[in-house]
C-alpha cells in the first residue's frame, strides 16, 4: 500500500512540520498560531517557520504524489499486474496528449493576456486532455497486453471522440473563415470563400481516395496549425488591436436623416 518513497518523504515532511511548530512556539509564537499557520495567533519567527513548514509541506506533497501514482513504483506495478518479475519495459504507451496539453496550457497563458475567449479555449482543451490522459492511463493498466489495452480504450472513447472531433473541426473552420471574411474587402471575401470551398472539397476528395494518410504528414500539419495559432496570438498581443475609425455623425437638425454614419 505505502511505498518506500512515500514513507521516506512523508516521514521527512512530518518531522519538518513538527519542527516548524516547535520552532514557532520557541520563537515567540502564541495561542494556536504555529498550529494554524498564523490564523489564530502569532507564528513566531517568520523566516524559519516558513522554511521548515514549506519544506515539510513539499515533502508531504511529494509523498502523496508517489502513493497516488503507483506507476512510478515497479514493485507495486508488478504486484498490480500479478506477475513475479518487475517489468523490464515501460507500460506507458505513446500518446499525443502531452503535446496537446502543453499547447493548451500555452494557449491559456497567452489567452490570459490576449482575450478571455482564448483563455477559455485553452481551458476547455486542457479539460479534454485531462480526460484523455486519464483514460490512456487507465487503459495502459487494464491488462498486460498492449494491443488489448488499445482496443479497450478505443471501444470506450471512440464513440465520444470521433463526433466531438468532427464538431470541433467544423466549428473551428466556420469561426476562422468568418473572421477572415470580416477582415477582408467585399471582393476579397468572395475570393476567400471560393478558395476555402475548393480547399474543403479538395481535402474531402483526398480523404476519400486515400484510405491511409501518412501519420508524419498528419502530425506535421497539426503541429504547424498549433504553432500558427500560438504565434498568431503572440503577434496579435504584441501589435495590439487595429485602429477603428467609426463613421462620424455630423451635427444635423433634429429629425433630419443625413444618410451618413450608416
Amino acid at each position: 500500500m505505502f511505498t518506500t518513497g512515500f514513507k521516506f518523504f512523508f516521514g521527512i515532511g512530518m518531522a519538518l512540520a513538527t519542527g516548524a511548530v516547535f520552532y514557532g512556539y520557541t520563537t515567540g509564537g502564541n495561542h494556536m498560531g504555529p498550529l494554524s499557520m498564523g490564523w489564530k495567533g502569532g507564528i513566531g519567527e517568520h523566516l524559519g517557520y516558513s522554511l521548515l513548514l514549506g519544506l515539510g509541506v513539499t515533502a508531504m506533497t511529494v509523498a502523496l504524489f508517489l502513493v497516488f501514482f503507483r506507476d512510478a513504483d515497479p514493485a507495486a506495478q508488478a504486484h498490480y499486474m500479478g506477475v513475479e518479475q518487475i517489468p523490464t519495459n515501460s507500460l506507458v504507451t505513446a500518446s499525443f496528449w502531452p503535446v496537446v496539453g502543453a499547447f493548451a496550457v500555452g494557449t491559456m497563458a497567452i489567452g490570459l493576456v490576449l482575450h478571455t475567449a482564448v483563455f477559455v479555449t485553452g481551458l476547455v482543451v486542457c479539460g479534454v486532455v485531462a480526460i484523455e490522459w486519464l483514460m490512456d492511463g487507465w487503459a495502459d493498466r487494464a491488462t498486460g497486453d498492449p494491443e488489448a489495452n488499445r482496443a479497450l480504450r478505443n471501444r470506450v472513447m471512440a464513440p465520444i471522440e470521433i463526433p466531438a472531433l468532427g464538431a470541433a473541426i467544423v466549428a473551428l473552420g466556420v469561426l476562422a473563415t468568418s473572421r477572415i471574411l470580416l477582415a477582408t474587402s467585399k471582393l476579397g471575401s468572395v475570393v476567400v470563400a471560393g478558395v476555402v470551398s475548393v480547399l474543403i472539397l479538395g481535402i474531402a476528395v483526398l480523404f476519400a481516395r486515400k484510405t491511409r494518410i501518412n501519420k508524419n504528414i498528419l502530425a506535421g500539419s497539426v503541429l504547424l496549425l498549433a504553432v500558427a495559432v500560438l504565434v498568431g496570438g503572440i503577434v496579435a498581443t504584441v501589435t495590439g488591436e487595429r485602429d477603428f475609425h467609426p463613421h462620424e455623425v455630423h451635427d444635423a437638425p433634429h429629425g433630419t436623416d443625413t444618410g451618413e454614419g450608416h
Partner: protein
Amino acid sequence: MTMTDSPPAANTALAAASPRVVGLFDALTTTDHKRIGRLWIRSGLLGLLAATLVGVVLTIENSNSSPDDVFGGINNYFQYFSLYRFGLVLLVVAPLFVGLATVVVPMQVGATNIAFPRAAHGAVWLFMIGAGTTVVSVVSGGGWGALDGVTGAEQDAIALTLAGTGLVIVSLLAASVCVATTVVSLRTSGMNLMRVPLFAWSMLVAAGVWLLTLPVALSNLVLVYFDLRGGPRTPESFGIAEGSNAIYSQIGWLVEQPQIYAFAIPVLGVLGTIAPVVAKRRHAQHVIAVALIGLFGLLSVGGWSQPWFQGDNYDEKFVFIVFGLFAAIPVLGSIGAAADTIVGRGSDGDPDPGADVGGERGLAGLLSVYGLGAIGAALLLLAGTVAGLARVIQPWDLGDRTTVTSVMNLVLFSAAAAAIAGIWFWAPKIGGRELPVSTGRLAMLDVVAGAVLLGGADFVNGFLETPAFGYQVAGSSAPLVAEPSNQGFVEAMNVVGAIGAVLIALGALAVFAAMAKAMRSSGAVDDNPYGGQTLEWTTSSPPPPGNFSEPPGRVVSEAPLLDTVNENGEEA
C-alpha cells in the same frame, strides 16, 4: 484499477509497449526518456548560443562609457540585460541539466524509463512554448518591466513575458518531479540512496531545491502580473505602471546567490561521476561527496532572500551572510574528494581491481573533453562561490557592485561547462555516437577561459566600486552610471570581460560544430568506451527501448561495473 484479463508474461507482452520511434508522429507521441531528453538538450544548447551572443553585445556595450548606444536607449538595454540573465538560468542551464538527467538518470538507477514519461514529454513541449513566448515578447518590446513607464501595447507584451516565464518555470517543475521520482522510486534492486551515482544524486538534490524555490518565483510572477494588470491599488504595489525595474527586482533573486547555486548543484554530480572514470578507480570519498552535494543544495535554497520577504536590505540579513560564507565549503570539499580519487589510490588504499574497464587513463583521461570540462566547471564554481563569499563580507560593501554579476557569470558558465562535459561523456547513450574530441576540447577551453575573463573582470570591477546595472536602476535616485574610482582601469576590465564573452560564444559555436560533425559520422560505438562504472554503461550505445535487454542484477556498491570485474581485470 481493474484487471479485465489475465496478464501474460510481463517481458514478452510489454516489449510491444515501447515500439521503435521514427518520424515526426512518433516524436510527438513518444514516451521514451532518451528522445525527450534530447529535446531538452537541443533546446538548452540553442538557448546557450543565443544567450552568449546577447552577452557579447552587452559586454561590448559595457566597454564604452554610455551603456545604451547599440540598444538605442537604456530601456532596451535593460530588456536584453534581463533576457541574458533570466535566459541563462531558465533557458540554458536548467534545460541542459534536465535534459541530461532525463536521458541518463533512469539508466543510472537501472530503470526502464523515467517516471511519468508522459508528464516529462508534456514538460519539454511546454518549455519550448514558454521559451518561445518569452523571447518573442521581449524582442517585441516586452520584458521584465519598463524603466520609462508602461504604455498600452507594452503592457500586453510585458504580461506576455511574465506568462512565458511562468510556463518555463511550470515545465521545469514538472520535469523536476519526473527526475526526482525516478531516483526515489525506480532504483534497481540493492541500490539504496547511498549507492545512487553522484550525478543522479545531484539531480535529486537539485530537483528538490527547484521544487521548493521555483514555485516562489512563480508566485512573484503572479503578484507582479496582477499589479501590472490591476494597477497600484495597495500599499504593497510595485509601481510597475509608473516605470521601474520592479518586476526584475521581484524575481532578480533567481540570478543571485544563494539561489543561483541551485542551478549549479549538478556540477558537483558531474565531477563526482567523471573523476572516478578518469582515475580508473572507485570514488575515494563517495559518502562524503553525497553529503557535500546535499549540503550545497541546502545552502542554495534562495526563495526567501528577496525584497518581498526581507525588504530591500535582504542581503544584510544574518542568514544570507551565513549562506554566502559557507557555500564555498561543499564545493571545495567536492573538489578535494575528486582530487583524492584522481591522485590517491582508491577508497581502501589499494589499486582498484576494476582498473581495466577501458577508456583513457591518467593524463589522457584528464585531458579528455569530459575530464577537462568537469574539472574546469568545478573550479569555476569554486571561484563563483568564493566571489559570493566576498560579496557577503559587509565591510567590503560589494552587495550592489559588479561582484553580483561576477558570481552569476562564474556560477552559470560553470554549470554550462559541466553540462557540455556531460553531453560529451554520455554522448554514446544520448545519441549513439561519440562527439569529436578536438572540437570538444576547443569548446571547453573557450567556455572555461571565457568565463574566467568575464567573471574575473566583474569581480575586480566590484572592488573598484563599479555599481551593478540591476542595482543602478533599482532606485530612481541612484545615477544610472556611477563614477568608479578608477574609470580607465574599469573600462579596461570591461574590455577583458567582452573578450571573455566572445570566447564563450565561440565555445558555444564549437559545440554546435562538433554536433554537426558527429551527425555526419557513422560507425559502431562501444557500449562503454570511457570505462564508466555505473549502470548506464552496461547497455548498448544507443540503448534500446526499455534501456536494458535484461534487468540489471542486484547492485552492491555505487560502482556496479567494477563489482563485475575480477582482480585480473576480467568480466566476472
